[in-house]
Point group: D2
Chain length 339, copies 4
């Protein structure tokens, strides 16, 4: 941490800052520049809310130096984390790119089984589908609940696909763990800390979606919550951010792939469906994500998107998925990976 | 809802859209324009995910017409909701502006009692203070828990101030209800729907903070969840949004005050502390909020902000609060209100 | 400037950074922390593009310490700049708040003269109106040009109001200077540097609108261009920023008022019309801006907004302006100012 | 255009809106829904500022239906525009992807000739380099001017690369046309309409950079200005947008590629250097852009980025460019294109 004093700060004002720094268990190092005095703080106390020093007289700003997360960082673990997914122990984070597909919500037996079969044939490794749906409106479809989980498990038995499904509240975790291979934390729950801690106490891989306006630090700190609670199997999922752009539902920020590679060992999955909001954009964003180095994709796929109860506008059909997987394979191979 | 077809859409493609509309229980009304055919949909089915129609061939876009919320809207209730707060039944949403002040977190008996006394003397009606703290980092201070709730209750006994405190998870609601006058839902939980429903089952007023990138519709739908669950006493709290601006921690969007007035009967409270992130900006933003028509303010106030365990940079001292209340009163009177 | 090395940076890598720093004419100061080595740079070389050092091996980031502007800053000039406006030498930046009103575009003699008369009666000090209009579409109304300037001058003769009008290109400056009291630089031209320099060579006060996504530094650097070219009479005008919010055309960021006060001596004017995009929001945002400490307001006002050729949705009528001015006066007096 | 009335709008209020619509030369079509009356407007009058109708009593909102641009749209021209670049008449917008590389600013003869040679060897088709630089600070390096243009022309003679360089002001156009193959309009000038019209009067291809917060419509309307002035050779260049994200200088929005493909026939070039701001992110974003369907890339490349006078942090070296071009070729071939 660096404390920048305003020009004209007096000796006693600087000394006051030094006292505050020492109270935090840090050591000061004062630099008298041409325009400003700067107080560098030595020591590692990430947890303290050092912003408070900004409130001291004649302090201009406090600049953090260290990243606030540890266990998610490359400083602690240099080699990429590979996470075994499902019965086949597909290694997400390895050379092969893992594609997960499926509808937003489990709607019926036919819908989920048909989608699963076609996704498996196309070469996917996971089946997504919501049994418990967090919906913006209280009047919207809220999911089949337990019945949905059972249908997902049936689809797994028939296809071998790993089941990826969202856990919305603490009270569902036990039940969802019974049926799911991967627990999904939705974007709106990325900072619901009790939930992060609770999935951190399970042994299931967690697909953690970035909040739609979360900073990189906040995203990695959410992962840190899960790891810190005992579960190292966190998959980071970018699903687009909220910006001023109106031609997409979210702006898909693919530069997060190299940015995360610089900072963390955790695998990275891209969701081009929520990431754009429109089915016609999904194929090109899948290819872009793979070219940029994603470890996996999670794609909304529905046999009849025009009649989907949710996210129809951004769902592709199983037929389009099939052709897309061929293209994904080619691009993957062009960057020395595979599907 | 209006469905806009692409130019060149065929009769059968338009007819296909008409079929989809009818499946939703809506009635179509087709308009053949010079460049486009447009299909207007008659009927009120807010819950259906009509976006799915965007996936139909040759559909350019689907434009919603109705707001997705009902009970929070002026269409259902025209007069402003006034919510009795605390033992004194201060009517938030009435002529008088209610000011709530207090620290981010309850840290100690001295800290909270001193702040409460000075806030009461300054003319505040509520005391804020977190006992359970949702923190971005797992390594940060997490609050005093039950002990913090008891200290808040003690402060209420000494001062008569209503206690406003956050409820982070379902499992705390019962306990927090025992001690608090107003339940706060934090910005990060604005879309944690199980929590919204749970506070909707209580009888306590709920201060609902806008998520840092929530749209107006999402904000009012979160309120709708609470009202729909049985609790009409929702206070809308703007606390700033996330934008590209770096000179503030959040961008305080005061135009939300007239915007909400056009749409809802619920009272509006502004949080200038989170709304800016800097103590030096808080006074002018308090005055601006009152001039713009806010029903209340919630201000972070700490006897020693430089040593606060959280949000120190944005906390003002009780002394500054005192002077500020005088100015707030003057501005309030200038717009025909009072404190 | 502070250069933060990555953990594990070698001695020679740190030495390489030191060499680069010295090449810029700066002096290094090395701090070996527990996790990181940090190289502080001493000396004032604001112009150099020191970001380049980020490209050196094992550099994690470069943190600027000094603001990049000088003449616009409080470090160079501590007392508030007061700018005489129009024949009456109204001092913008003094105790009195200057209100400028008028249509987006000058459309006709009747329109501009009627608006001017009513604005003057209401207590305004300036008349806004575009003769040259920068329009998003090449098919939109482009303004009356010279004819518009003459009508503005006629309105000034009749009312005494100062004329505030936009200059879109270099080639118009001479002509606009003949008729205008204040030159307006539009938001879309905030970084058109040749234009900034050109108005910097005139003696006219310049109302500089913030670009819709300009940072504070960029805004003040645009002012610096004008001052640096010889014209110290720069008025900073906030007109809203582009964010994800859809209930407004722009998000009006009033915290910029205290933020600018901390950094600059230049007067601050708020444009609530562009700042929101809706006439119904303009009155409350005018009051909020005054309460927050604005030195002036610039308001779109049109005798028949429903038929305005541009910005009709955000224009208020002269009648509404009249009532609004009374309220503005009251709020101004509540914060020890006046209109 | 669709005018949505508020609930409770009276017959005469609806009739008033009908009158306004007719004044615009449009024909009304009234639909009485269950909750709202909606007035659809028939006819094509893109230029009128119909937003003004929002100011009429009991109007809730006005929803545009038609895109505001024409000549840039697929409705007017269905086949992709291919633009011949340089002496070799490379067809940008055809099967082959055109890569343009070079430094932010021309600094010296050695610098530009060396970069050009290595870029040509790597397989680039164009050389970028600024002779006139628009700089955020008046104290920053402003470019070599004419001397820079001459060096660019010399580099072209030696390598055959097409010269792409920015034109900042009207007064430079003639001179820049003498030396350049492609005129670049910078992001900060995307809405400087006099400049757009002026380059529209030349015969040179124009590389139009998207403003950092321009909407898709604004971007295409800027292109429309150029086409409308007589120059159909417009290349659309995405260079990142300004968002809340801090780990990048700009957020690179690659979904704009499929979005533009749906709307326009113009070729699309991606700038991953400004699009991210960091050299380490450039390679993966180049590959992503190609996978997503870009027609070209424009990359900042400098023989000694750590000493570049501008944009050093985001410039890659010619050596890295060389290896990158191999990877770009592979990804291009994977999506049935080539370099």
């Amino acid at each position: 941490m660096i404390v920048v004093m305003k020009p004209g700060a007096s000796k006693s004002q600087i000394q006051h800052v030094v006292h505050l720094i020492r109270e935090y268990g840090l050591k000061e190092h004062i630099i008298h520049g041409t325009d400003r005095t700067v107080v560098a703080c030595l020591g590692d106390k990430r947890a303290a809310d050092k912003g408070a020093i900004e409130n001291a007289p004649m302090v201009e700003k406090v600049v953090p130096i260290l990243a606030p997360y540890k266990m998610a960082s490359l400083e602690v673990k240099k080699d990429k984390t590979q996470i075994p997914i499902g019965a086949d122990k597909f290694l997400l984070g390895g050379t092969k790119i893992g594609v997960i597909a499926g509808p937003c919500a489990v709607e019926s037996r036919d819908q989920i089984l048909q989608t699963a079969r076609q996704a498996a044939e196309a070469g996917c490794i996971g089946l997504r589908g919501g049994a418990y749906k967090p919906r913006t409106s209280p009047y919207s479809y809220q999911g089949l609940g337990t019945e949905g989980l059972k249908l997902l498990a049936e689809a797994r038995r028939q296809t071998g696909l790993a089941v990826v499904t969202e856990v919305v509240g603490l009270e569902q975790i036990e039940q969802v763990c019974e049926y799911a291979d991967v627990l999904q934390i939705g974007a709106r729950n990325m900072q619901h800390y009790p939930l992060l801690e609770a999935v951190g106490h399970t042994q299931k891989p967690v697909l953690l979606k970035r909040g739609m306006s979360a900073s990189l630090d906040e995203f990695l700190l959410a992962a840190e919550y899960i790891i810190n609670a005992g579960n190292p199997h966190v998959i980071l999922c970018e699903r687009g951010i909220r910006t001023f752009e109106a031609y997409v539902r979210n702006t898909l920020s693919l530069a997060i792939i190299p940015a995360l590679r610089e900072r963390t060992h955790l695998p990275i999955v891209i969701d081009p469906s929520h990431g754009t909001g429109y089915a016609y954009m999904v194929p090109s964003m899948c290819l872009a994500a793979v070219a940029a180095g994603a470890d996996g994709l999670i794609i909304e796929c529905h046999p009849d998107p025009q009649r989907a109860v949710s996210d129809g506008a951004q769902s592709i059909t199983p037929d389009i998925l099939k052709g897309l997987m061929e293209k994904i394979r080619k691009v993957a191979q062009a960057v020395d990976r595979d599907v």
